[in-house]
């Protein structure tokens, strides 16, 4: 029996759920599903400019595993760009570094260290109208 896959560590949820192509040849019927761990590998390596080793340490995986996740993500994004497919970011075996909330009053986002009972107040405006981001997406 194969060893179960360890969950990958992700800093926070992506800002958007996905991307829709535009233009005559755009197709919103064909969808590429990018997992959250694949998104995180692109964020760490391409956006933050980290090395593969640094990215793998951040995601709590080995460097070869990170390389596989990253290659898969690059291939999916390339396919979506070249064939005009939409990208949906969802799924994946991930755990988050900490809980992130969004305040519906001032639109700020904040994290909570340690245990939380999900009845937090916004540290900026004090509003109780806050939503856990994981549940929101």
């Amino acid at each position: 029996m194969a060893r179960p896959v360890n969950p990958r560590k992700v800093f926070s949820r992506p800002k958007v759920k996905g991307f829709i192509p535009m233009g005559f040849y755009a197709s919103d019927l064909d969808t590429i599903y990018l997992s959250v761990e694949e998104y995180e590998s692109i964020r760490l390596k391409d956006y933050m400019g980290l090395s593969q080793l640094e990215s793998s340490e951040h995601m709590a995986v080995s460097r070869p595993t990170l390389t596989r996740i990253y290659e898969k993500a690059r291939n999916k994004i390339a396919e979506a760009l070249c064939e005009g497919k939409q990208i949906l970011i969802q799924g994946g075996n991930v755990i988050y570094h900490e809980k992130w909330f969004v305040c519906n009053s001032c639109s700020s986002k904040f994290n909570i260290k340690g245990k939380s009972d999900n009845t937090e107040k916004c540290p900026l405006c004090g509003s109780e109208n806050v939503v856990l981001i994981e549940n929101d997406l």
Binding site: S108, I112, L124, S127
Partner: protein, 111 residues
């Protein structure tokens, strides 16, 4: 979190009248606001022009000054890493608004 919050806000100049900087680590100045005593201090960012690791250096400096909340528009990886190691809370301000330092402080005061 019941402990006293000392909040670092990156601003474009040494006054609360300046806008909040878009990039945390590259900000020229920081407002250090003590929520309990309601005092404001300024910290100059000597690392803003560094080619690399400016986030790491400025975060360590702010931690040494007793800051336990980082508040800004865009907080980079090195700052996030130091925040995680030192149990520091992060607040990401809404991206669309060009907020002034004073606006942020007033929001914290009013709550």
């Amino acid at each position: 979190m019941d402990n006293v919050k000392i909040i670092a806000i990156p601003v474009m100049g040494k006054s609360t009248d300046y806008k909040v900087s878009k990039l945390f680590a590259r900000s020229p100045f920081f407002i250090i606001y003590d929520e309990k005593n309601q005092t404001i201090q300024f910290a100059k960012n000597d690392y803003k022009g560094d080619q690399a690791q400016s986030g790491k250096h400025i975060s360590k400096l702010l931690v040494a000054k007793g800051v336990n909340v980082f508040c800004g528009h865009d907080i980079g990886f090195n700052v996030q890493k130091i925040a995680e190691e030192n149990n520091i809370q992060l607040i990401l301000l809404p991206e669309t608004k060009g907020m002034m330092g004073e606006t942020v402080i007033n929001m914290i005061k009013k709550k």
